[in-house]
Amino acid sequence: MSLDAAELYRRYGDMVLARCRVLLGNEADARDAVQIVFLQVHRNRDAFRGDARPSTYLWRIATHTCLNGLRSKRRRPEDPVEDVTVYGDSMLDPVEVRDLLDRAIDGEDETTKLCVIYHFVDGMTHDEAGEMLGLGGAAVRKRIAGFRERARARLPADFMEAV
């Protein structure tokens, strides 16, 4: 499989953009993140072993990139939430995604954050999320359960109900 960044962009750019829109919540940051994702793919093109579908590989890189972006650029509560679901395919609405990513996952470790994103935002099963992370489904289930416990205190009850 070719890892020509421009070729991959033509095929998967919209998928990566949709992913970044949902996680970052605004168009400008999402567009920046998409470029970073494909630049990273280009830089690491020799490391790709072809054991994953390119879409899975890109989804993983995009998720990490956005998570890093969220860390470096904290949103303030008063920042408006853009309605990215008009393009999106998330299982949560944009406000719920922001609650989850800007508040609820604060203080969680990186792996748990990724479990939460894959499971709640993307709607993956525990097994599917585990596959993204090289973990078993049971390990994901355990992390999600721990997260629920800790997040209950930080989030409105109706939100935790919804997820």
Partner: protein, 220 residues
């Protein structure tokens, strides 16, 4: 099955699922209104996306500038850091140089450091692996091209730059290689479209109808 994940929907749309996975998603979407609409949203986004151009920073990765010195800089962090720093830095415009005709573009060279990006200092030399980025302001010209010349005197035309009337980082940074000597960068502007030949002429024999501004870095 439960609602397919966003990724599974993309893979379904891209025809990348195994036969049984594919059948499961298809059956689910035929009965689940919500997932049918999620899939519809993906397809609509796809239609909008294919009408867009590939961003030049990505397009360039497939066709790297020729010549041994320039490698397109693919490390995204310094590039972003540069862009972010620009938002914060108050940049003073360059003193006006010798104006031939029209207004010259402004050009600066910035370097990434462990403390963050900063403008290159006068007389500063840089070693292998340093990351530099050209910042430019086309000052009202309608077309701009970035070119370079290494110590051997060879001119390379890297490509067209988007025109901007504020000091803007070029769409990519550049990692220095191990070769020595002076590396110059040129921003050539014009109101008419520029060919590589125009640019080469401007840099070698001079062209009164084109505006040229340069910055240089000394490689140790």
């Amino acid at each position: 099955m439960s609602h397919p994940s966003a990724l599974a929907l993309h893979q379904y749309r891209l025809d990348e699922l195994d036969a049984d996975e594919r059948a499961a998603v298809k059956t689910h979407c035929s009965t689940c209104e919500r997932c049918a609409s999620r899939l519809g949203a993906q397809q609509a986004a796809r239609t909008a996306f294919v009408a867009e151009d590939v961003p030049s920073a990505i397009e360039r990765l497939a066709k790297p500038a020729n010549g041994p010195w320039l490698q397109l800089f693919a490390g995204a962090t310094p590039l972003l850091a540069l862009a972010a720093a620009l938002l914060l830095a108050v940049l003073s415009p360059n003193d006006s140089g010798v104006r031939t005709k029209g207004t010259l573009p402004d050009v600066e060279l910035w370097v990434g450091t462990s403390e963050g990006p900063r403008a290159l200092r006068p007389e500063e030399t840089l070693g292998e692996g340093a990351v530099v980025q050209v910042l430019y302001d086309t000052n009202g010209a309608r077309h701009a091209v970035l070119a370079g010349r290494d110590s051997s005197g060879r001119v390379e035309v890297y490509g067209e730059l988007p025109v901007h009337d504020t000091l803007t980082p070029s769409p990519f940074g550049i990692t220095l290689d191990a070769s020595h000597g002076k590396q110059e960068f040129y921003v050539v502007t014009s109101d008419a479209p520029l060919t590589a030949h125009d640019v080469e002429q401007a840099l070698t024999s001079g062209r009164a109808d084109l505006q040229v501004r340069s910055v240089a870095v000394q490689k140790r």
